[in-house]
Amino acid sequence: MKQICDIDHGTPASTSAERVTLTIDGCSVTVPAGTSLMRAASEMGNSIPKLCASDSLKPFGSCRLCLVEIEGRRGYPASCTTPAEAGMVVRTQSEKLAELRRGVMELYVSDHPLDCLTCPANGNCELQTAAGRVGLREVRYGAGANHHDAASRRPADASNPYFAYDPAKCIVCTRCVRACDDIQGTFALTIAGRGFASRMVAGEDQPYLESECVSCGACVAACPTGSLMEKSLIARGQAHGSTVTTCAYCGVGCALKVETQGSEIVRIVPHEAGGANRGHACVKGRFAWGYATHRDRIAKPMIRAGIGEPWREVSWEEALNRAASELRRIQAKHGRNAVGGITSSRCTNEETYLVQKLMRAALGTNNVDTCARVCHSPTGYGLKQTLGEAAGTQAFDSIAHADVVMLIGANSTAAHPVFASRLKQRLRRGARLIVIDPRGIELARSPHIAADWHLKLRPGTNVAVLNALAHVIVTEGLVDEGFVRERCEIDSFEAWRDFVARPENSPEAMAAVSGVPAEAVRGAARLYAQAGNAAIYYGLGVTEHSQGSTAVMAIAALAMATGNIGREGVGVNPLRGQNNVQGAGDMGSFPHEFTGYRHVGDDAVRAAFEAEWGAALDPEPGLRLPNMLEAAHEGALRALYIQGEDIVQSDPNSQHVAAALQAMECVIVQDLFLNETAHYAHVFLPGSSFLEKDGTFTNSERRISPVRQVMPPLGGMADWQVTQALANALGYPMRYGHPAEIMDEIARLTPTFRGVSHEKLERFGSLQWPCTEDASAGTPTMHVGSFVRGKGRFLPTPYVATSEKAGPRFPLLLTTGRILSQYNVGTQTRRTGNNAWYKEDLIEIHPHDAAERNIRDGDWVGVASRAGETVLRATVTERVQPGVCYTTFHFPESGANVLTTDNSDWATNCPEYKVTAVQVVRVTQPSAWQQRRRRFAEEQARLRPKAEHVSEA
């Protein structure tokens, strides 16, 4: 799919079902009512010159270039703001229109630097194109006041690491301002001054970087000239080709268009037709791709005898043979279950599938797990138990039909920014919002958004609050009895109803536990239950708790009890952390399940896999990731194959994880970089970024989207090829020629993927599973008419307080999360310009707690928990409530996960990242752990071969 330019129809498509027929330039045209004349003409192939219009923005009607003539009407209306009407007769071109347009263009061009040949927009400038289209041949206005000569021009703003703003090239069309408002919802830009003095400014006339701009790039995409332009494009010139692919950051799964010169990236822009993002992106997906060619990339396989030994670069063959022989040696000596594997939620479905196949079929063990274990495994468990399928129920488009949104434990503007923008668009059109979060997140209250209710609960009390909400719904007669009677198991509903109706679950009783006033819980419950269409969106603030699975089941119960499931605008929507967390689960990465969430103990399912794979498979579940680490401490697990996950930094109780790895005889790391985990590795296999391979990712809305190769793998092999080569080295043949063949095998073995193929993805763009014979185009909304499991199941959800409690030694509760510009362990974003916004992990502490400890903003503070100690810089803020601290885990030297404990969700072992009891004190030097880590990292750096480096981005 090579393309550069999308057609811009000038105004958004109308969704009206009514059709109107009119005549444009002598041709009869039928369009949905509400379609602008500009769009109607464009769709029939007669695009009208324009400057201020774009089909991603509401019509504005300021540039006066798109004028048309309408029979029977006086004047020359703007086609962008004039809706098509039945019977209209429209002319888009005439002598008079041409004269008017030339006159308008002449004025624009009279105040524009005519440096077209050296302008970076040359070849892709709408002003230049419009001048050509109207036939501008002269500019009669002589020298005079302008915005572009040496004496008049304002300095360009190059403060943003990724794009520059040159006011001299600005035509004040306001597309950037409207993009920031209407698409992104940040309102960071405005037009300052009046008349000739009008100009676009960021913030309060600040450099971009200092303003509230979140660098989503919507303004750059909207700019019709070279005024706002990517620095990479300014440096390299216009692209020669483009490839549509899927973002490899968060679980939104934005479709991106990678513009290239050969295999070099010129820029990445959001793809207009992307089903998940609808033409929008964020600072990570759009701009933070420089890591792919960063000098730290490891492009050659390496081996070493022990973690204190120097790395030695070797051939792929030698590295793979070493890995295979070590795995076989350890199995021969300690049994087949002495080895384990970790699939990556960053890799493609096809690659993830191959790793679990290798573990089960080639090595004969079900000891395989994935990073979904540490984020959304409770979603899989909870939704499977209640609704029958381990996935969210809606498409992102569904948000446009929601009347009330309940956002639980999800800081979406930071972690799922494109979803957050779509949510804000809906809120600006009147939807109401309930936020359940211990922190004052942006969506709870910020200059342009205010939730109706913010239930600012104590960390660890989600279930208490959810039960209290259910209590109100049940006791105030807000249950959708008809829905429950028709769609759900009545016995289970009645047991759940009786349970939540107990006095101990009332908002008044639970207030003491959660800290949330009863009247707020009652107000939120009434708003949710009486909304019409009410949708729940939730994140890791729900799952990463000792009761994560219980909370998911409580959420499903709320949706079922109020009939908010099975249509657009409602549902239960987990916001997945990583790009392919959903896919990793779908692909059979959990130790107890094959693809499609089918248990290894199911004889019929296992027989199908045994027949396809030609190997006997273990009918018993294997070890989960935390179990594997425990087993390693005891000497029962001695080798681990880790594809694309940095468990030392990302998993809880880092010192415990590191000690487990240190206890192993063979750690095989397949990754882009020598990360924290690779410091404990014996074999390093170079991984490939999403730009270097073909395959698919599956996002939070079950959307399977294509990943397409843009550049060759730096190490010579894509990740699926590496796993295949390892299988072959183990003596288990794999002979795939392309990931499409792997997907064909997945489809053969997996009912919900039966209708999926790469060929079909080329035709449809993306597909939401289940994609079966009955639903060959996929399933945007699940559980329509009936639940996957038949009847919806309610389960009692008792609140059980976590054993991780604050007390005299550790009086504060620490919760962890993410910020916008960095991504998870930061392996990628730390190697990009995103450090301009966040270059170290900070700990937020409430002013009251800070004052008690004599801590000021910016002080170094020691943070101690039952698991370990670290030192971070303090931010004193009321975003956190008294008694609560918050930090991120983007930088390895910060050690946020040195603090988090082994506590985990009761059903899935998902770590309790969100609740750690800590003490915070002022300090003057790094913690003992940080000093040890620095020495160890320096030693490991010395053990690296002096390799030639790839070019630095």
Binding site: N337, Q547, H592, H599, P621, G622, A631, P796, V800, S904
Partner: protein
Amino acid sequence: MKIDYLLKMANQIAAGFAATPDEAAASREVAGHLRRFWAPQMRRQLVEHVDSRRGEGLSELVIRAVGDLR
């Protein structure tokens, strides 16, 4: 694996099913959960602990569930 690690997890699972209205059903749920999600060596260790230490450190529900596991 360290037995304390397994005991803690088993007790947490039991707490997760504690509100199941019927005791026998709760025991079956816990046993089913262990069978479905725990590797055989973990289940074996738990059963051995119940046999050798009379379930010391385990909730009554887990001990009953171990009976269902055998």
